[in-house]
Amino acid sequence: MNPGNTTRHGTAVPRADRPRTSPDHVVIIGYGMAGARLATELSAAPDVEVTVLGAEPHRAYNRILLSSVLAGKHAEGDITLTEAAGHGVKTRTGVTVTAIDRAARTVTLDGGEQLGYDHLVLATGSQAIVPPIPGLESPHPRVAAFRTLEDCRRILEAADGARTALVLGGGLLGLEAARGLAGRGLAVEVVHGVGHLMERQLDPGASAVLVRTLAEHGVAVHLASAAIGVSADADGVTLRLDGRNLRADLLVLSCGVRADTALARAAGLRVERGIVIDETLRTSDPRISAIGDCAQFGEVVGGLVAPAWEQAKVLAARLTGAEPAAVYEPSAPVTRLKASGIDLAAMGTLQADPSCEDVSFADPARGTYARLLIRGDRLAGAVMLGDNPNVGQVIQLFDRKGVVPRDRRALLLGRALGGAEAPVATTSPALMPDQATVCQCNTVTKGALVRCWRAGARTVDEVVARTRATTGCGSCKDAVDGIVGWLSSSDSVGVS
């Protein structure tokens, strides 16, 4: 059934003799951002049949946007992802896979149904960690993790009519949740166990500015505060810290995630903190791959969308034969906090060493903090918080390992690219050099206007008629008026 097999392996093997290793039926377990992306990538190939199995009852959504839903910016319906169905892709939602039989190459669904595969992809994602704190053993309507669309709905339900909220965990997601709830009018307190926020991405200086910015947006932060107990009742939640208690209407847990490896482990695949994969995205079974949050490549367990999508792209290229030799090469992540009034980008390392240039700018009163670590004219790491017009350029330089500008300030201050030239109209006529072009459209210099004056033109209209200045875009009209006025009032050049 695979007539298009010719491009599968770009080797010199004659078509008919090629081993038929391209899978006809790919089963993807998990319909999150990684699984959905892979299905879409595979749908471009006409001869691969794809079945996606999703445990959640709804179509795939963009998890990145859950904090926008929490903030009330996106409606739930606005964050669903494009469906790959109709291109040889079958999507089944609300089904759970209970077992993998690697020898028979089948998966078993919760209803007992068995499904065969030629290649299996695990995109099972990750689960929110519920910390081992007394009082969190059993669920309570006023306490919710922040991970899934379902979590999001529960938080919003609890937040309805609430005035205060606690967020346990001052990482990226916790802060986005906090800002989102504050935007809905709740007074929010964030409790973080470490001495500064987002400690894996930020330095203490950036954290200090961020704490201040958060305060301006209705989010108070408690740093270096270990939670030792939770008690929830019908009226609210109490979070016990070492030495004091915080009370609010709801508690959001944002304490990190754990790769969902249960199926893989039960099937005997190699699992450490995640399902171990190589650069071809294969697990310890060559018939099974893993991508996204559940996968561990080297020491890194997933958790971000960009690498998950890159993995999906590489795996699709391999499975369809479009690029049979494609391999996954991880790129360094860029962390971007998206929340109203907070603009934060962090990337790479902020651990300075003597071989680094360490360039920084801080304006805490305006919520701006920027720091670059440069090694060998390349960015080793950066954090940019607040109004940094060049944040896009910094991210691209980091991403593409570009050479940083010789004047490092170009990245820290103002708009570095372009805009450097003062418009002619703002320059005083007397100070303008003769060769300065006043009218770009007709290439008329100040000198040409002066010569025209000296040749007898005495009004703006006469100067315009002779030089054609101002007749193009017209934006130099003020400048020409100014020069003629200056010539009229200046004896030194007003000779006839």
Partner: protein, 713 residues
């Protein structure tokens, strides 16, 4: 023999007096078609004056001011050339006709190709298409507008069911509260248009310019977004994402006037601001500011130009900006909408009347049986005798002289040796032809390769109509007759038709085959064009030269002489089968040739103020400054040890260019810019690639991978 034999139809109502020494016409160059008055002085010199026409409002740029200098230029061609030697018109025609007949006998009808131009009048564009389909009966006709307007045209057609550059008069631009310009450097390419931008800013409007370079247009804007070349599509999707995220869509409009929104919305969900920032390099804050400025404006206009369109994903990029405009409910709302800025003088009319490979007059599709029947009836031929769609411009040029490709070509109003992508290869293809015929008034680089060059009239020596970027049909008027020894494009076509066996009487010719009529009289051609376009998308049936004169131009569609033209489209609905605009989901994709270790810089190409297109005209005008150059950032210059004016060599996988360095802080450090007006060692199109848009067949002029090095003396 001269081609200026009496036209078949008597000239009636021609408003040009034989003794005219002053005439109101329009500039020969860009699609703005600035109104100008030409005055012949007693010494024969022609003086140009700006005219207060609704488009240019009395403005002209230096190209327009100096345009008459080419009329009596010493390099003006006044005699046909055969194999580079002066020849009589008779000899030239004999050579051409023998060549065409030989090639057709040996290789079939499609072996003779026709290549037109977006600077030709409506009458010429129409006659050229008719000549190709009825006299040569070749499928292979296309034109240089493929390199210009094809992406915007394809996107406009698939979204709105119509392709008119601006669906509203230019004056609306000045009144917009928010204006978004993508890849448009009008301050240099059509300076008098910038008057509208100045006025728009002056009234407090937000003006946002998207360009990898801080061009004069971008520097004047209230906000400049400076994306990585080739990422405008991601930018558009990111803006749409924000519009959705912030609840700024026009839900009622989407429900009532569009189809396809759900899929478009889901696609946009994948382009959250931080992701788009990483792709484009445009900060999230600027993306948000742009989306909000568009969404909160009472009147908002989005305009694209070649910067967004000349890519292998140009159609999808324009589609993404149209989707953004539709999500905001702009098209058809007073003072709002999406438009594209047409480039060449008759870039609009030139794409409507049949010099495109897949098209018949009136923007009719050549594969539509009803369209074929209508046009064939006007032409007096059997519909089945009309060929189908031929090759698109680049594919056509690339096939010249190849097995199965054309062996002869007639070329009008174009200079592909300079203007085609991967120009080195295209030059070789042109050289491999058995017969190349070029009509021009100077010896352009392409004419220099021709077997036969026919000297033809210039704009001030001919009558006709042009359709400007607003879809306004304008009159080009002759100040004086073409110089002795020269002909006109229309006369050349009429004479060739006659010599190739057409009786020219519209009745039965040899063997009982009905043959079409050709005439050198542009008025008669336009009258026929009106009938041929009647009922088509671009309906000119109600447009007459007299109305154009009386009404300061007429906006098409204008289906009847007693009906007004249509300055604003889409007020009541879209010309699609269900009256709704079609939203089509598109995804960002990378450039065809990304940078790597060997070719670590992007090259983008474009125009400068004092030159026009391939420069065949403007480079010959002494008053216009010019010369090739390469723009690069000071940081890059320092790393290479380059100073201003140093010679640099820029190399791509296709060839190299040498030119002086121009060191400017207005360009991204990862990008070079070179103007494409020049030939020889400074030819930018030696470097550009031939990746084509899958729909429009637009080449990727605006980005390719290069390296740069100093030229060591």
């Amino acid at each position: 023999m001269t081609p200026s034999a009496p036209p078949a139809t008597a000239v009636t109502a021609l408003p040009v007096l034989p003794s005219a020494r002053e005439v109101e016409t329009h500039c020969p160059y860009c699609a703005l078609q600035c109104g100008m008055t030409l005055r012949e002085q007693p010494d024969g010199r022609v003086e140009v004056a700006a005219r207060d026409f609704p488009t240019n409002r009395g403005g002209l740029c230096q190209k327009g001011w100096t345009s008459a200098e080419l009329l009596d230029h010493p390099e003006r061609l006044t005699t046909p050339l055969v194999k580079g030697r002066p020849a009589s018109w008779d000899e030239a025609y004999d050579y051409i006709v023998a060549g065409i007949e030989r090639v057709q006998a040996a290789h079939g009808r499609d072996a003779v190709a026709v290549f037109g131009g977006g600077g030709l009048t409506n009458e010429k564009a129409y006659a050229l298409g008719k000549f190709a389909r009825t006299v040569l009966r070749t499928a292979n006709i296309d034109y240089n507008g493929r390199f210009c307007m094809s992406s915007a045209a394809a996107a406009g057609n698939r979204a709105f069911g119509i392709d008119r550059g601006l669906p509203f008069p230019m004056a609306d631009v000045a009144a917009a509260d928010t204006l978004l310009l993508i890849g448009a450097n009008v301050a240099e390419t059509m300076p008098p248009f910038a008057r509208y931008l100045t006025e728009q800013r002056g009234s407090g409007g937000a003006q946002i310019v998207v360009d990898p370079r801080a061009t004069p247009t971008a520097r004047a804007a209230t906000l400049h977004l400076q994306p990585t070349p080739g990422t405008d599509l991601a930018l558009a999707l990111g803006l749409l994402h924000i519009v959705v995220a912030e609840g700024l869509t026009d839900a009622a409009y989407l429900a009532e006037r569009t189809t396809g929104w759900d899929e478009v919305r889901r696609t946009a969900a994948g382009y959250w601001p931080a992701r788009v920032e990483r792709i484009t390099g445009v900060p999230v804050a600027d993306l948000e500011a742009t989306a909000r400025a568009l969404a909160t404006a009472e009147r908002a206009i989005i305009l694209t130009a070649r910067g967004a369109e000349q890519h292998s994903k140009g159609v999808d990029t324009v589609t993404a900006f149209i989707n953004l405009a539709l999500a905001l409910g702009l098209p058809g709302r007073p003072g709002s909408g999406y438009g594209c800025l047409t480039g060449q003088g008759n870039g609009q009319g030139g794409r409507e009347h049949g010099q495109k490979n897949d098209q018949l007059p009136g923007y009719r599709k050549i594969d539509d049986p009803a369209a074929r029947a209508h046009v064939a009836a006007v032409w007096g031929v059997d519909p089945d005798s009309l060929p189908g769609a031929g090759l698109s411009a680049y594919e056509l040029l690339d096939a010249l002289g190849q097995p199965g490709g054309p062996k002869a070509m007639l070329l009008f109003g174009s200079n592909p040796v300079v203007s085609a992508p991967r120009a080195g290869r295209i030059t070789e293809r042109l050289k491999s032809l058995d017969l190349l015929v070029v009509c021009d008034f100077v010896l352009s680089e392409t004419a220099a390769l021709a077997d036969v060059v026919l000297p033809v009239a210039q704009w001030a020596e001919e009558d006709g109509t042009m359709t400007n970027l607003e879809g306004r049909v304008l009159r080009r008027r002759a100040l004086r007759k073409p110089p002795p020894g020269t002909g006109t494009d229309l006369a050349v076509l009429a004479e060739l038709a006659s010599r190739l066996g057409q009786t020219g009487d519209g009745r039965s010719g040899a063997g009982g085959v009905r043959t079409p009529r050709f005439t050198a009289d542009p008025y008669a051609v336009f009258e026929e064009l009106r009938r041929a376009t009647a009922g088509g998308v671009a309906d000119y049936a109600g447009v007459t030269w007299e109305r154009v004169d009386a009404e300061q131009g007429v906006f098409w569609p204008c289906p009847a002489a007693d009906r007004a033209g249509t300055p604003r489209l889409f007020e009541a609905g879209f010309p699609t089968p269900d009256g709704r605009a079609r939203m089509i989901a598109v995804e960002h994709r990378p450039v065809a040739e990304d940078i790597d270790a060997e070719y670590p810089l992007y090259l983008t190409t474009g125009r400068v103020l004092a030159q026009y297109q391939s420069g065949a005209q403007t480079r010959r005008i002494a008053a216009l400054p010019g010369g090739p150059f390469v723009e690069l950032h000071p940081d890059l210059a320092e790393r290479l040890g380059l100073a201003e004016g140093d010679q640099v060599r820029v190399t791509s996988r296709r060839g190299e260019l040498t030119a002086p360095a121009r060191i400017v802080a207005t360009i991204r450090p990862d990008t070079l810019f070179a103007p494409f007006h020049y030939s020889g060692a400074g030819r930018a199109n030696t470097l550009t690639g031939d990746a084509l848009d899958p729909i429009s067949r637009m080449p990727e002029f605006k980005v390719c991978a290069v390296r740069i090095e100093p030229v060591t003396p």
